[in-house]
Symmetry: C2
Subunit: 703 residues, 2 copies
């Protein structure tokens, strides 16, 4: 019997207080055996110096680790702000129900076995979700290693890392699907003098997701940046709402997401039960959210000072980086930046002149190489002052060699002293140089331990998009959608404004022989909503030269379809043949988690093999559409490659924008134009085939 | 006036002694100002405790840093084993000449300005090379920060890092184009307990190259692995000879090479004057040399224990890795491994049963996830013992979470205790955990600080090839080669055994009209050695249906060429039209630095844009040719993709092998078959066009 006892912490401030600053905590299933994971939260809370009330709950003991234990949550003298449920998997649902019935507003669940165990796990998750909804208790986890707020000395966690003392307090909030990762991040940060405000292990997110958890801290003045470790994307709308609000407050959000490879996506499924989409879907989601995505583990914590400085860029030109160095190690950073598509630009003649005037003489080249002789305060400072003021750079990277280790005053201190220059600044230090790292961190200059994380952090900062304004919208109903026939699909293209070839629908008997409203040569195709792959059933004839050939072609086409599908062809669609300088594929579809997407690809077998495609959340504006075109590698074939005439890419951008407007229609599940013929410049683009899937049932909103 | 005084250290043992264990050292241009780079070698040698004789040479001072200084090298009481020339750029050539005339066998040059300053730099380099050749003095550098042998306490270097005491002595020999990097590597190694035997900053390699330097240490019993930091590839034959000898001794060679991006290759040019080839040329070179290539800076030093254990793989099947973990952080390693093409394989049913029998119960999945509860010695040890004995894995990666930091005895010590198991073992530790790293390094288990370097090191070890047996061969003469006409090119294909279409050469007047030895339809092409791009001048006609069409087509073709080139077409080549399931491009060419290469690509505009091609040094055997086919992404289009008939890839492999045999003919500079038609299985491949460039002049050998 479940009883509704509270308002599910609808007020973010209330959630934040229960989460990060609880006045009292119950530890349900706290163990007396100090070697057990279920003993850790009590040990760590005491060791950390938490000043609120702690209620160990253990029905089989009067004391736990020397403290009074309570037989049940109902026996407690007050309703605790937060309960950490440490009981075995099988006992979790009952324990959470008891908390809910008693009015506990927030519960965190340690146990796993809610996803990995297959059907049983899914059933347990559903039960837990139901208990949460019916009693109003909010749930973090399961598979949550807990919540840490270093400001409140709140070590409510089973992560062994937090048994140690003396954590630096910082202004970063970390949320992670993996509970182990929060310990690893905090420990790596500590070794570098980088502190956190709070860290949450979100686990499987059966109720409270990372988006809602983070959103609860948006008014926390002690937090100025978010770090997300994601195994997959769940509760996408809440995550996007949070990211949009964080962007509005100028708080950067950086994410590391597993699943660049299919293998890791499969792991995410077995680990968390979440169906992870293709990785570029996640990229599109992050881009729309204004979330910076890093690809290196340490880049996650190292990049934050840079993200605080780099305003999401205007997208009309590629970002440019200037590099100044005392060592050949800079080339490693240049190499990695180039692979990420970030241009390291040479200083302009004017900048070179200013460098010379400041006493810095360097050879002309892509980077400003001060050489070993330049490892002196005045030289590095003058070089940085000049480069940071130069209009040609969006960001400056300084790379220091051996001197950084033995005498940071030579070439590292001037970098620290430029922390507040007119452009963002990042540093890579080649040797192991703890003092140099500390100096730079203290000054607020993003400093990187490896050339790989340096390039990663710089690329993540420079390619981050401004969050696209958005509010949650209805999604198509679940279930199997139905296909429209090609004529109905064209009507939809006409509605949103994608140019398409003229088309007439004819009775397949071709009696009487038709007078076409356009000239030969033409194409003829079977017209039937249930035949979505017309070519596969011999249902397409191209380059038909005249009326007699049309009659023959349609007869053959009818025979093919009759043989292959066993059905009679009743209608055919006839179109003029359209040629251009090339073809692309443009598609729209609604992904279950992240919602409407628009895709641009080259089409054809090879580009499918090479996976050359670009995705964005729909709808997109023309600036974003142009950006998509620029990111499609194969588009070079339509950009005047090797003397070929360039295609009308402006019209292509318009068509992408138009198709992406389908996001306003919650009945459309999928729409694919393949091919979209791209004609020469100023001659437009034209769809010559289209497939649309529409949901029949009523609309629904994604949670 | 230059005098030949020695034998250029032809004996490697002599070179090694002068290089790593000199009995006496002259410091030419040693500075009395302790803040100057030219003062460092004396300071560091003394601080390090070098026990040989040191002769500071400075014509302007009687003492340098409190020691007696000599006015010139000729004034020294003996011929020193090694001279470090610390004078300014302009004075270098004279100083080295004096050393050479005095009989100094080995000189290292600090100064730069031998490449970066353009024409002047090149002239200086040529002078230096001449001095070396005429006097017999061997030269390291210029731009060399010196030589360090930690066993001999030889800190003959201007790299500031080596001013500090207490370097761990190890068994790795490092050679680097960048002098800064040797300090960074040593410092990063020191922080991890990883020591070096010796390190050499090779600079511009005007005389002694990295290959020859490393080769001199092959009989050094204190060295068991080589680490190369390369900005480019110079003296490729010497490098390959060394790598082959190292492989024969079972000593791994690992390389980090700049130039994954075009930007970094450009930097290498400005930095070192060397013309760097495309990056996949370097990959092909390393593969043939049996050199493991890493892509991360720290992976370079972290991977060595793994390389010592992993025997270069038999190439008939892809390597498989098993992963065991206590933390979700393992997924980061899986993700990166998959992106590098390394399969993380699930344990077999038998292995799962053995795990269960050993008391390790895990859920089925791609990795063996012991979870937080598995962070115990017995569990991890039992899991590792089982996985390391399982036949399905070539290598096992263990990933440990937070416990590694606070109690390495739980899950890290069992990894250390499995160092000598039946399979190679690598470890990634998620938190900052110095004690765990030290424990693993001490035990000889490769341990990685980041998931990126872990995947990099594992991939580098597993994809390393066995060195291909080789001896230096003559190369085509320099200068402009001449093209063969298509008929002559076919004769060459016939000689090496690449199948090609039948072809007849006809007088372009087609008088009398020809009787062809094959059926229509045919293709006709202009036949002239000086027209290498026939299509571009309208010199190709395809799908000619009959004799009358042939006459028309050839007339048109003659007109085209006459218009576009202003020359009369005298002969045409006629071939039957050949069809298949697809086309590829196979090419052979001699690269100036690394020598003969064979290339496989898909051909066509899009694959050129996607840069889908695979290179190997030529000649190749059929196993390597199959491996090349497997690495070409686009080959999926010819492998039964989406129901298409698969192509005859066995015949393709034979054709690659055949074309690569051109390496035996030092007159051939380039040979390209584009396209090579791939027919259905068991129907072979057939060349329908070929372009061959032959060197006219006499043969020469590459140094």
């Amino acid at each position: 019997m479940l009883t509704r006892k509270n308002d599910r912490l609808a007020d973010p401030a209330a959630l934040r207080q229960k989460l990060l600053n609880p006045r009292s905590i119950a530890l349900i299933g706290a163990s007396d055996d100090a070697t057990k994971n279920a003993a850790r939260p009590l040990t760590f809370l005491r060791r950390g110096g938490y000043s609120g009330t702690i209620y160990p709950v253990n029905p089989r003991r009067n004391t736990v680790l020397g403290e009074r234990a309570w037989p049940s949550v109902e026996a407690l003298p007050e309703v605790p702000d937060h309960a950490y449920v440490l009981v075995p998997t099988e006992a979790v649902v009952d324990a959470v129900a008891q908390c809910g019935n008693f009015g506990v507003p927030l519960v965190t669940v340690l146990a796993d076995g809610f996803a990995t165990a297959g059907g049983i796990g899914a059933a347990r998750s559903a039960q837990l979700k139901q208990v949460s909804e019916e009693t109003g208790v909010r749930v973090i986890g399961p598979s949550s290693l807990g919540v840490i707020d270093l400001r409140a000395r709140l070590m409510l966690t089973a992560n062994a890392s937090f048994g140690e003392p003396d954590w630096p307090v910082g202004r970063i909030f970390a949320a992670s699907h993996s509970g182990s990762i929060i310990g690893a991040l905090a420990a790596r940060g500590k070794a570098r003098g980088i502190g956190f405000a709070a860290l949450v292990s979100a686990g499987l997110e059966v109720d409270l997701g990372i988006g809602e958890i983070c959103a609860a801290t948006l008014d926390d003045p002690g937090i100025d940046g978010y770090l997300l470790f994601l195994e997959t994307i769940r509760q996408a709308d809440a995550l996007r709402s949070f990211a949009q609000a964080a962007a509005a407050r100028g708080r950067p959000v950086v994410a590391y997401k597993l699943g660049r490879s299919a293998e890791a996506r499969e792991l995410a499924v077995t680990h968390s039960g979440a169906l992870a989409g293709e990785d570029d879907v996640a990229d599109a989601f992050f881009a729309a959210c204004g979330i910076a995505r890093v690809d290196t583990f340490e880049g996650m914590i190292e990049a934050m000072p840079l993200l605080r400085r780099v305003v999401p860029r205007a997208r009309e030109r590629a970002p440019r980086v200037g590099v100044v160095t005392t060592t050949g190690a800079a080339a490693m950073v240049v190499d990695r930046l180039a692979l990420r598509g970030i241009e390291v630009a040479p200083p302009s003649q004017q900048t070179l002149a200013q460098l010379a005037a400041a006493g810095v003489t360097v050879e002309e080249g892509r980077i400003v190489d001060l050489t070993l002789a330049g490892a002196r305060y005045e030289i590095m400072k003058a070089a940085l002052d000049t480069l940071l003021a130069a209009p040609e750079f969006d960001l400056v990277v300084a790379v220091v060699g051996s001197s950084a280790r033995l005498n940071p005053n030579l070439a590292v201190r001037p970098i620290a002293d430029c922390a507040h220059g007119p452009r963002p600044l990042a540093a890579f230090v080649a040797p192991d140089a703890p003092e140099a790292f500390a100096l730079l961190t203290e000054a607020g200059v993003a400093n990187f331990r490896t050339p790989e994380s340096c390039a990663d952090g710089v690329a993540a900062a420079l390619t981050r998009r401004a969050a696209v304004p958005w509010s949650p919208a209805p999604r198509p109903a679940a279930g199997k959608p139905r296909a429209l026939d090609e004529l109905a699909a064209y009507a939809l293209l006409d509605r949103v404004g994608v140019p398409r070839a003229p088309a007439v629908a004819l009775d397949a008997t071709l009696a009487p022989p038709p007078a076409l409203p356009f000239a030969y040569p033409v194409a003829a195709k079977v017209l039937a909503a249930d035949i979505t792959h017309k070519t596969d059933v011999g249902g397409v004839a191209l380059n038909i030269a005249d009326g007699a050939a049309l009659v023959r072609a349609v007869a053959e086409l009818r025979g093919n379809v009759q043989r292959q599908r066993g059905t009679a062809v009743e209608r055919v669609l006839v179109q003029p043949m359209v040629t251009g300088v090339g073809e692309v594929l443009v598609a729209y579809r609604v992904e279950p988690e992240v919602g409407p997407l628009v895709m641009l690809a080259m089409g054809g077998v090879l580009t499918e093999i090479y996976r050359d495609r670009v995705l964005r959340l729909a709808p997109v504006d023309v600036v974003t559409a142009r950006e998509m075109i620029g990111e499609l590698k194969g588009i070079r074939a339509l950009s005047g490659f090797r003397g070929q005439p360039p295609g009308d890419l402006d019209a292509l951008a318009q068509a992408i924008v138009a198709l992406s407007q389908l996001a306003a229609d919650p009945t459309i599940v999928e729409a694919e134009i393949n091919p979209l013929i791209v004609r020469a410049q100023e001659q437009g683009v034209i769809a010559v085939d289209a497939l649309v899937l529409r949901a029949d049932e009523r609309e629904q909103t994604n949670g």
